[in-house]
């Protein structure tokens, strides 16, 4: 187990797209984080149900998606391609279905590699289906067994990279977002989430090692992206979503402490922190992920990406072709621009990176906390603590202070309502006890046993 005490990237100018201090080399020679940015394409089905009866049509859908996308990748001379197959829950609950689709994608990627020399990698992301039982059993039971079997079968069917969007602690996190309850968020991320990640990632790393697949990374999607989407539709303050993003870093980091080696998951917008701390490469998404959801960080997310993703697009027909193919083209051009800047030299690459950064940061605190210098400063604060909870607490305190200063200095102007909320949240952060045990004790009375089984997190 690796406990991160020092930053892998210390100088903000070194936190840049395409380059990570610990690049990942795949058996086929594809190097991620070694200088080039590659597109990472993700796709999903159009409206349809998933059942044994519809599986023949589903297979055909995925066959068409991948064939067409690979052909476009070749036409566009992409130097490398990563494809993500994010299972739909039914495909994890019946692990054979997910594995079948994995095999279809593998087969096509292999053919294009042989015939056209297209270097690629296949990331497979089974679902965290534990929450189908409420309150969830986190470490045993039928759903847990199916989820592990899904990882095993998909790895055996040809996945190169394994990921998940894990949800431990989420049982109480959604309400905590909506009620703007910072101590509960800190508890969900730093105490529950971190404990669950330790258990879960030890398993994923074992499955990966046994079956020749790389344990890649996790994401705070269910936590910080839920907050981001809620902020986007004006349900919660943006400063709250920004705080949750930085607080989520400690939780996502656990996967890397337990053996994940990247590339980090695309929807983990906390990725730049992971890269700065661990040095492993990351996938990011932004402008070209508008096919899946809106976000306030369309350009700044490119600043530090090693893989550039679209999050997810439905396989529907557009004038330019199937939507995944069109989406791949958009990703390919975005990555090409970044690679061209890199080729032109460090000065040009940095200039492009700085444009990506400058174009977003003043509009939203969620973009501001992704500024490379801010990432480095806050990462340094985070790893000054040794426990996940300590890191979450430090992140909350330091981020609140950082946003207040940014507002004051005119670097990230906030509306009066946002400033009011920053004060309220900051006061809540000040009340967080230093010791984890004290928070656990404090939460005991508030936890609803109908929502969560604390024993599943090793707590009584």
């Amino acid at each position: 187990m690796e406990i991160y005490k020092h930053l892998a990237v210390k100088d903000p100018d070194d936190l840049i797209f395409g380059h990570s201090p610990r690049p990942l080399t795949l058996p086929n020679g594809l190097v991620i984080g070694g200088g080039l940015v590659y597109p990472e394409l993700n796709f999903t089905l159009p409206p349809m149900s998933i059942s044994a009866e519809t599986m023949p049509e589903i297979r055909e859908q995925y066959r068409q998606i991948i064939e067409s996308a690979c052909a476009r990748a070749v036409d566009l001379y992409v130097p490398g391609l990563v494809v993500e197959f994010e299972l739909l829950p039914e495909m994890t609950r019946t692990p054979e279905w997910g594995a079948e689709i994995t095999a279809i994608l593998r087969d096509c990627l292999d053919r294009f590699a042989q015939r056209d020399g297209l270097k690629s990698a296949l990331r497979v992301t089974p679902n965290d289906i534990r929450e189908f039982e409420r309150p969830p059993r986190m470490r045993s039971g039928g759903l847990w067994d199916d989820m592990i079997r899904s990882f095993e079968l998909c790895a055996q069917a040809g996945a190169d990279l394994l990921s998940i969007e894990s949800t431990g602690g989420k049982e109480i996190h959604d309400d905590a977002i909506l009620y703007a309850d910072l101590p509960t968020v800190a508890y969900a991320l730093g105490v529950l989430g971190a404990r669950d990640m330790t258990f879960l990632w030890d398993m994923i790393v074992r499955v990966g090692l046994k079956n020749g697949a790389i344990p890649a990374g996790d994401t705070a999607c269910g936590f910080a992206n839920t907050a981001m989407v809620l902020a986007e539709i004006r349900h919660i303050p943006r400063v709250w979503a920004a705080l949750i993003r930085v607080m989520s870093v400690a939780r996502s980091l656990v996967a890397f402490e337990r053996g994940a080696v990247g590339p980090g998951k695309d929807c983990a917008y906390e990725g730049p922190y992971i890269k700065a701390i661990t040095g492993y490469p990351i996938a990011m998404e932004g402008a070209e992920a508008a096919v899946a959801h809106s976000s306030p960080i369309g350009n700044i997310a490119k600043a530090t990406a090693d893989l550039w993703s679209n999050e997810s697009v439905q396989n529907v027909r557009l004038l330019g072709g199937a939507a995944p193919t069109v989406s791949l083209e958009q990703l390919a051009y975005a990555a090409r621009l970044m690679n061209t800047a890199t080729e032109a030299g460090p000065h040009t690459a940095l200039m492009l990176r700085n444009l990506f950064v400058a174009s977003d940061t003043t509009y939203d605190p969620q973009a501001y906390v992704l500024r490379p210098d801010v990432v480095i400063d806050l990462s340094r604060e985070i790893i000054a603590e040794e426990t996940a909870y300590g890191r979450v607490r430090r992140a909350a305190l330091a981020t609140a202070q950082c946003l207040r200063k940014a507002h004051h200095d005119g670097l990230c102007p906030l509306s009066p309502q946002e400033v009011n909320w920053l004060d309220r949240l900051s006061k809540q952060a000040d009340t967080l006890p230093e010791a984890e045990e004290a928070l656990i004790e404090q939460m005991k009375d508030q936890i609803d046993p109908e929502k969560i089984r604390q024993d599943q997190y090793g707590l009584t």
Partner: protein, 211 residues
């Protein structure tokens, strides 16, 4: 300021204890339970709802106010029953089978409750039988379906079909919502309406029941 004004203010500020105390006081002062409900609690929630629509407050303020109202309602409920006050309608709401997304559904339920509807929350991953049961045995006037996945949208139709099969389709109004659905889809599956967000869901349900 009357005690009802104070109650309204307590709910708007999300002060559960104040709301509780003011309801007790209003009852002591002899206010009828339905007056306390309509002019105090529901009026406060519609005020908060308006502030939210105007962009003055966010959802947390609204939820905290709803929590205060809920506390106050616990005291008031027996008096409402004694007075024979009925809710404006009963809504059975749930996220359809296979779908675990519940934030949107929760907000819709909260807004409906704040507008005086009784809510039967069927939760997430709710099978069609639960909706049928809510209509057959629990007196739901409206079935409200939420889905966030393109792969679970078809399960909305399954619920409509199940209600038809159970012979209760004509007894209820069906409203659907969630990011991937729209009015055209509602028409296609034979639902009575669609709402894009929580406040329009309240308007739509009111319109459907003529209240």
């Amino acid at each position: 300021m009357t005690i009802i004004d104070e109650l309204r203010e307590g709910v708007i500020q999300g002060q559960a204890n104040v709301a509780l105390e003011k309801v007790k006081k209003a009852l002591e002062e002899g206010y009828a339970a339905d007056v306390i409900l309509n002019e105090g609690l529901i009026s406060a929630m519609s005020n908060v709802g308006q502030m939210y629509e105007d962009g003055v407050v966010f959802v947390p303020e609204m939820l905290i106010a709803a929590r205060a109202m809920d506390k106050a309602l616990q005291i008031l409920r027996p008096y409402l029953v004694a007075q024979g006050v009925k809710p404006v309608g009963k809504v059975a709401i749930g996220t359809v089978k296979g779908d675990l997304h519940d934030i949107g559904k929760k907000l819709v339920a909260m807004m409906l409750e704040g507008s005086g509807f009784e809510i039967i929350d069927l939760g997430i991953d709710a099978p069609p039988e639960k909706f049928v049961d809510a209509v057959q045995n629990k007196g739901a006037d409206v079935v409200a379906l939420s889905a966030l996945l393109t792969t679970t949208m078809p399960n909305m139709k399954t619920v409509v079909d199940a209600l038809k099969q159970a012979g209760v389709r004509d007894k209820v109004r069906i409203i659907i919502g969630g990011a991937p659905v729209n009015q055209a889809y509602a028409d296609q599956i034979g639902a009575d309406g669609y709402a894009p967000d929580a406040s329009s869901a309240v308007r739509k349900v009111r319109e459907m029941l003529g209240v």
